[in-house]
Symmetry: D3
Subunit: 78 residues, 6 copies
């Protein structure tokens, strides 16, 4: 009876997109359900998956809004 | 001091509606708070209820987006 | 497809008990599932309920560990 | 590796505003991350903060939608 | 910056075990992180996974504690 | 009416300790409540804080159980 909550920032995976697509969401749902079957032997119909898309302003990492932190991090890796 | 989080798909309970109404939300809040009082003797003012409405594309069941799973399930029951 | 998470402090509802009983947990599960059926017309087999019992030291209210806050509050009501 | 989830009602902190500002969100992220560093010695880059803004209709307190409860409470304090 | 919360019942996957093993937990962590990389292109070091093991008494499905529901369901399928 | 959930690994902040102390938990509760007052003007008695202590085996980062990831990371920084 697994319940899986996936929290991600609301942003696209390719230029020109600003959100995860329905296909990508379906792939997350399928993959997470498959993982429960493979590792814990849980049948598909006993697994719930809930995806939360979070505005980037609402996600913090490194003490900063996530997009600022990411920029800072990339700059420091150069 | 209970905290209750209710996650539901964002959809209507009657034809022509596409979301839970404010009255239905108030009924969920009242019912969940009453349950805490009845079973655990918790006074109303110590219970928080938070309702999350989740886009149906973001909810997975049976390895599929929830609406697809529901259709499949209904078909198989016929 | 509701998912309901009930968070409560780990403590008894009667003198001499230090935790919620299995019967009380079953009543919470039944009541929460019934609420989804009554208000949103969700069948029992599409509702998950997860109860989290939280150590009272780990629950804060009023800026204090919950048991301290409760004592303070009761004192101020006298 | 702390993860902090802050749930608040979606409303402004000053007249004429109807939501928390980006500056306030950044202050929540910074303050929560600082708290993990000060109390638990967790470096900034190992702390995630996720802010959920909840529609006031979806938040219950005292058995009522939160805004109704607040009004009632203020009235009773007069 | 995904955060994934996996909630499962605390029980073994083979006779004689009463909990998920450390190896199974590592497989859940690896699989969930890989899914974020494959579908959303998120690097491993930006994904957190938190596994919650829930006592079967604390998990409800079908209006019943989960183990009772499972027994009933299996009986009805015969 | 904020609700704050703080998830941390169950481990000590000093040699010889294997868990967060009650004093540290009280400091987290106080600090998080103060933050809601300072940034959002929320009174102490409307803020709930719930601390979840997670077994290190149950926390994943970088595709690995968190303690393994941390070791690997420290080694790579030398």
């Amino acid at each position: 009876m697994p319940y899986i909550n996936i929290q991600i920032t609301r942003e696209g995976t390719a230029p020109g997109r600003n959100a995860v697509t329905a296909e990508e969401k379906a792939a997350l749902i399928k993959g997470a359900s498959q993982l429960m079957l493979d590792v814990l032997n849980k049948p598909f119909d006993s697994t719930f998956v809930v995806i939360d898309e979070v505005d980037p302003d609402n996600w913090g990492w490194g003490g900063l809004p996530a997009l600022e932190f990411r920029k800072q991090r990339e700059a420091s890796r150069r």
